[in-house]
Symmetry: C2
Subunit: 219 residues, 2 copies
DNA sequence: ATAATCCTCCAAATACTTATGGAATATCGT
DNA sequence: ACGATATTCCATAAGTATTTGGAGGATTAT
């Protein structure tokens, strides 16, 4: 085999990794799995895609080495292979929003103006928690909270927040978090809290970054 | 428009960035452009692809915000938009070789055993240069050397090295460098030098990393 | 064994991507 | 204005990806 052919084979392998990330469903699956492992039809249901398609796309990600599986009885749980995968996918999303004006616009249309929600850095939140000066609210679905959450956080899933405002204090700062920088749940929660007279802010980034950085967690 | 649709639009934008990286020719073009700007048919010739295809793939990368162009008379020069693009593509290649066994194998088949060539770190090489204890050889094509190189490096393109061994000293350490971690030119050069009785080592990574790190350069 | 549950594989339809040669367009020097 | 050079656009053919519904496999509980 010639050097030229070997070079092409190598670049084809690199492109396989790009191909794994070249599909919106696959990127969404990685973002959901970044919250913790999930079974196939659980994922299909929560993302709103057909089971057979979800299974097929999970297999593509698995063959690219980005996901791993574990069987538990009749169910198969998929999880992200490594935190380097999460960092890599975050850098893809950051790259897209920084270099593609349409991506930046899509992010703005979906998330609204996030800077108005005064994002709190991870280190700052860790300090506020240590001093007991904050109530932290995890607005992700209950399964994701159960799989792991910021130590001391309350679970109030996004769709239950309006009905459960009475559980939160008006006197204290509230910080809400969700799946990450491109997840809409915490921004919506902060807006709802503010509209109801609470002092609320957003956590910059979400659970996967908190967890990857080795900050205090519980489950 | 519903939240669900806006979310899908956002993930479609993220996937556009993945799609830009989902093709071997496009990744190769980025690696060549990482050495410095080049015109379209210059690229087509040096990569060995048809002009119309090269132009089409350059346009894809440009529309993904990864490349910029500059017109100079009748020629159009493409260049990488930003060093963050290079970092991102390097992390894609690293991810591929770490998670895909076939990619790791393709890299080994193409490059051989690189660790046997005792790669020198960038910082270490900078010190050796400062102390005058090394001869640095740039084995990339002459145009790439002309566009920018490590300060003090000699240009001996890879395909001329065998004929120009007399220009190099037997008493001194020689360090060869090329396009980067997945480029075959410097590893082959080091092997050729060693086979001819020189004391030669490889620079870990290549010109793009040296340049991005702000180390001494010339052109 | 059998049924129930969950997942994967398969076939088919549709849509997108890649690669090519040749026509069209843009710029420059005369 | 004209020819030379460099690039992009276009039509087309072949290849690859996506999505779906339904059949087929594993595993568990009865």
């Amino acid at each position: 085999m010639s050097d030229r052919e070997r070079k092409l084979l190598l670049y084809e392998q690199f492109a396989r990794m790009g191909k794994a990330l070249a599909n919106p469903l696959r990127l969404e699956l990685i973002d959901v799995l970044a919250q913790g492992e999930r079974s196939v039809d659980d994922l299909a249901t929560s993302c709103g895609w057909k089971l057979s398609n979800t299974s097929a796309q999970l297999k593509v990600l698995q063959h690219a080495g980005l996901l791993r599986t574990r069987r538990d009885g009749v169910k198969i749980f998929y999880r992200v292979a490594d935190t380097s995968v999460l960092e890599f996918v975050e850098s893809l999303k950051a790259m897209a929003t920084e270099t593609l004006p349409d991506a930046e616009k899509a992010a703005r249309d979906y998330l609204g103006d996030v800077s108005a929600l005064q994002p709190v850095g991870r280190g700052d939140l860790a300090e506020l928690i240590a001093r007991g000066e904050v109530v932290v609210v995890d607005v992700r679905p209950a399964e994701e909270y159960a799989a792991g959450h910021i130590a001391g956080a309350l679970s109030i899933p996004h769709d239950q927040l309006a009905a459960r405002l009475a559980e939160l204090p008006k006197e204290s700062l509230i910080v809400a978090y969700c799946r990450g920088r491109f997840c809409v749940m915490a921004p919506e929660a902060v807006r709802l809290l503010r509209a109801n007279g609470f002092e609320a802010r957003l956590l910059a980034d979400g659970w996967p970054q908190w967890h990857a950085e080795g900050l205090p967690v519980a489950s």
